[in-house]
Amino acid sequence: MAAPIASAPLDDLKTLQQHFFTQFPTLSRQDFANGVYALDPDAKQSWLAIEQFPPYEIAIDLGKQLFTHPFNNGHHYGDCFPDYRQGISQHYPYWDLQTDTVVTLSQAINRCRLQNQAPPLPPTSRSLINLTAYLSFLSRNKPIAITVPPEPAARAAYQQGKKYYHQRRGQLNFSCASCHIQNAGKRLRTETLSPLLGQTSNWPTYRLKWGRVGTLHQRFIGCHKQIRAQTAAPQSEIFRNLEYYMSYISNGLPVNGPSIRK
């Protein structure tokens, strides 16, 4: 099911959410935030077993330590994010009207560092991932609330992310949509394919394959490798726009990161 290419964001959201609610009538909005676990009872059982001693807990603790530690100038991250205790990650990524760009949570943290004369952290560094793990944890169960303002540049960023999701690429000629819309719920070998709806709610995530907590953009890279396609870099403009589209479509689902995936 290909979403019509130039339709308005809200129409895309309604069409796609309705599509998945119809395809999986037994799943609630909340269930979709659990990705493949909502569709595969065996995978869900092993996930719940691992959740007894969550391997991402240390990332949350370290993230909290970093977050509450003052910068050299005496200021705190909390000064940049005054509402952080109520949870803020459900509002990321957002369209920044000042710089005309999509800003992810990782980037917002780095902007805060720069404002406080601290060097920015590399996109996949432990410290940055731990900080996002803590903020994601504080947002647990908050509904994802992404806005696409009417500004043409914001619309264009959204449309670029959407186009990327639906465009075929790589030697194997797949689009993201081939696997995560057209074949969502089906099995590729033994892997159940998660639906687009809910793919951004659980990040950062501890992946058993990685043996550590990693980012959504690192997961994008994994999917590019599977289809033998050229990939972009974490926090590149195209990956931020892709995240913008995917997160917008998941509006209303609860944030449940950090989580665990195979």
């Binding site: 290909a2 030697q171 194997l172 000629n173 797949f174 081939s178 696997c179 057209q182 074949n183 089906k186 099995r187 590729l188 070998r189 033994t190 892997e191």
Partner: protein, 119 residues
């Protein structure tokens, strides 16, 4: 010399030129191997372990295609027959050689209608 000989026995694949190695793989191996056809990613095929279910089971293909050449053409580029298909264009994108595709088609052509399928 002795050492090279030993290495060759250990890493047989490394000592055979790629073209020769290809001929050594049977149609079933080419269809099952994850680095080759990996058809099991999407199709049930007799005797294949842990198949996916994105495409239809591959059995009884003599009913579905008039001749083997049509089957080869389909595997070469299924998007010609259905632009929206999620099956990769194995020939057009050089995922498999024409010879490999023919070898797979020969194997599939012989599969009976009723078969042992391991779920």
């Amino acid at each position: 010399m002795k050492i090279i000989g030993l290495l060759c026995t250990l890493l047989i694949a490394g000592c055979i030129p790629p073209a020769e190695l290809e001929q050594k793989l049977t149609g079933q191996q080419l269809a099952f191997d994850r680095k080759k056809g990996n058809c099991l990613a999407c199709h049930r095929i007799a005797d294949g372990q842990s198949p996916g279910n994105i495409g239809p089971p591959l059995s009884n293909l003599q009913q579905r295609f008039d001749n083997k050449k049509d089957l080869v053409n389909f595997i070469e580029d299924p998007t010609v027959f259905n632009p929206a298909t999620s099956m990769p264009p194995f020939g057009r994108n050089n995922i498999l050689t024409r010879q490999e595709i023919k070898t797979i088609a020969n194997f599939l052509w012989t599969l009976p209608a009723t078969q042992t399928i391991i779920p």
